[in-house]
């Protein structure tokens, strides 16, 4: 196996405001390798974005952040780095596609110069070369007539075009990891498919790693090699996309998948929701965070935090944090 381009280990992120303390990420570990697409799925507030962008120093201002654990990229630990070191690292190591391209691009500046600025800053190109580079980036992301679009303002482009420009912007500094934070949420269905196809194409061509943060299971099945299911800041299950989506083990993963409507089934069974609500993460409590909503929970679930263990279906990568299921399947652990 190759060395991971981004490896997070035992990451704990606490957010403090004057009124509440939130354990947004509670001991999560994951790594991503070159050329791989890792999808991180979970409900709103499960810590997907905080876990991925937190170590990069991209959390909103106005909250006090306490981060522990390690997040290594390029042989260095991001958690221990200062904001200025992170800033130098970001563009070159990580590119980020945000959810809403309209607000991520400066409305007062033309699109092209915003791209060229990135290219100049990180690749040290001359003004003329940077312009050429920006136009070729626009062309690469499938924007028709890129030389003309270079001089357009963000409001002159449609949402899909803007998201393409946003992707071009993320690629301008030639990152090794592309983080897509719900890249298709603000787009309509046909454009969503195009954007996903574009991300996949770029990944194939450049061999970069992609982290896809999403709650769109469809997008996961299209794009992802590996999937991490996050619940209340803890990883419930991880494995290859095919394993997790077709043979889910953790009750939460099963519930999550059951709540996605399947229009192909002839007799619609409807969707099933998971009873209850996600826990508020203001307290650190022992035991499985999902236990109170879980149909197969046992008293022991409340006592001990489950650890990720191999499911034992032949794939070493497929791991779940549910001793109840794993024991029932007769998987021998200890």
């Amino acid at each position: 196996m190759t060395t991971p381009v981004y490896a997070v280990e035992n990451l704990i992120i606490d957010l403090y405001t004057p009124t509440v303390s939130v354990r947004a990420v509670d001991g999560a570990s994951f790594e991503i390798h070159p050329g791989e697409t890792l999808a991180i799925v979970g409900e709103s507030g499960s810590g997907k974005t905080v876990m991925t962008l937190g170590p990069l120093g991209l959390l909103p201002e106005g909250v006090a952040i306490d981060m522990r654990g390690t997040a290594r990229a390029d042989g260095r630990d991001l958690v221990a780095m200062s904001q200025s070191e992170l800033s130098a690292m970001r563009g070159g190591e990580f590119g980020v596609i945000f959810q809403d391209p309209m607000s991520a691009l400066n409305p007062m500046l033309k699109i092209g110069p915003q791209l060229a600025e990135q290219a100049r800053r990180h690749a040290g190109l001359s003004a003329a070369d940077a312009r050429k580079e920006a136009v070729s980036l626009l062309a690469r992301t499938g924007i028709p007539d890129p030389a003309d679009r270079y001089d357009r303002y963000p409001h002159e482009l449609s949402g899909g075009m803007l998201q393409r420009a946003m992707i071009a912007l993320a690629l301008a500094a030639k990152p090794r990891v592309l983080i897509a934070d719900e890249p298709t949420t603000a787009l309509d269905a046909t454009v969503q498919a195009q954007i996903l196809a574009l991300i996949r194409q770029i990944q194939k061509e450049d061999g970069i790693a992609v982290v896809l943060i999403t709650h769109d299971i469809g997008a996961v099945s299209v794009l992802a090699d590996r999937v991490i299911v996050l619940y209340a800041g803890q990883i419930a299950e991880e494995g290859s996309a095919i394993d997790v989506l077709t043979r889910p083990v953790h009750p939460y993963t099963k519930g999550l998948l059951a709540s996605v409507p399947d229009f192909r089934s002839e007799i619609s069974s409807g969707t099933r929701e998971i009873p209850g609500l996600p826990p508020n993460q203001t307290k650190v409590e022992p035991g499985c965070r999902f236990a109170e909503r879980c149909s197969i929970a046992q008293p022991s679930c409340l006592a001990r935090r489950p650890t990720l263990l191999p499911v034992g279906d032949g794939s070493v990568l497929h791991r779940a944090a549910c001793p109840v299921v794993l024991n029932a399947q007769g998987v021998a652990h200890q």
Binding site: D14, T17, E61, A64, A303
Partner: protein, 301 residues
């Protein structure tokens, strides 16, 4: 409203000013108009804490009385200017069209001239025979109000116009909400939020304007104690008895600076700030204790 983490010490002059203004009669040791020709231009003493002026009047009592004069005038002017400004500005913004054009023209003309100049001109007009029924004090308040509302009208209109374009206004209209409901319920809170913040910083400028008018002999007439008046009185003795100028000057400066800081604190209050220092340390300690408790439970299980 909370004041965030701004040090309260900075705001103490503004708070002290308001408290002194309210409780002035209790704090004054002498009648502010009482002259004592046996004790002219004295330094601080047990009976006259800040000394006496050229007529033997007690400086401490006059400073306190001046605070009350300024506070009352300021509150009247600010309240009246705020109401007039918000009403005119909101009407302009909400109705639009010709009405808006006409009202904006008036506002622009008012803003083209410094407020103090307008107030001075109005004081000149009010000194005519038709206005003898008004005391100088109320003339000053009226003149300042008429000179002061335009900025509030301008801000109110701007907020109303921008809020009217928000989708939730459209949604309220779709629901069948009346104009009054939309304005009072959805727009007015935004207007007041901005205007009140501005007013809190503006209070200092107003105290200064009141003092300026009195300094020029157009505002509060003697023997009512007033800081601007005291500055004029002290001017003649500035070489021998500088404290006569320094004391009211310091009072004025402290109040103006303090109200500006108050306004700034209100404005910054809207920006969320990360907690730090001892509060953050306490929260982290609580969290660490929770972690430790969990570790113990899980080790025992």
């Amino acid at each position: 409203m909370k004041l965030g983490r701004l040090p309260w010490a900075i705001l103490s002059p503004a708070i002290t000013f308001v408290l002194i203004g309210i409780f002035a009669p209790l704090l004054m040791t002498h009648d502010t108009a009482q002259q004592d020709y046996g004790a002219l231009l004295q330094g601080p003493s047990a009976s006259h804490w800040l000394g006496t002026d050229y007529l033997g009047r007690d400086m401490w009592s006059r400073i306190i009385g001046g605070a009350r004069t300024s506070l009352v005038a300021m509150v009247f002017v600010l309240a009246a200017a705020l109401v007039i400004g918000v009403v005119i500005g909101s009407l302009a913004g909400y109705i639009g069209g010709i009405t808006e054009m006409a009202l904006i023209s008036v506002i622009d003309i008012m803003l083209a001239l410094p407020s103090l100049v307008i107030a001075l001109a109005l004081m000149g007009v009010f000194s005519g025979e038709n206005f003898t029924w008004m005391s100088d004090y109320w003339k000053m308040i009226l003149a300042l109000t008429l000179a002061w509302w335009a900025n509030y009208a301008r801000m109110s209109r701007a907020v109303v116009v921008s809020e009217l374009q928000q989708p939730y206004i459209e949604a309220a209209r779709v629901m069948g909400a009346s104009h009054i409901w939309i304005f009072v319920r959805h727009i007015l809170p935004h207007v007041l939020g901005l205007v009140v913040v501005y007013a809190s910083a503006d209070a200092g400028a107003l105290v200064l304007a009141i003092a300026t008018l009195s300094f020029l002999g157009l505002g509060v007439a003697p023997p009512v104690p007033e800081w601007g008046q005291m500055l004029v009185d002290g001017m003649s003795y500035i070489e021998e008895y500088p404290s006569l100028v320094i004391i009211p000057g310091l009072a004025l400066t402290a109040v103006v600076v303090s109200f500006n800081l108050l306004g700034e604190a209100f404005a910054l209050q809207k920006v969320p700030k990360a907690i730090r220092g001892s509060l953050l340390r306490r929260k982290k300690a609580e969290r660490a204790a929770e972690d430790e408790a969990r570790r113990r439970v899980e080790a025992g299980a």
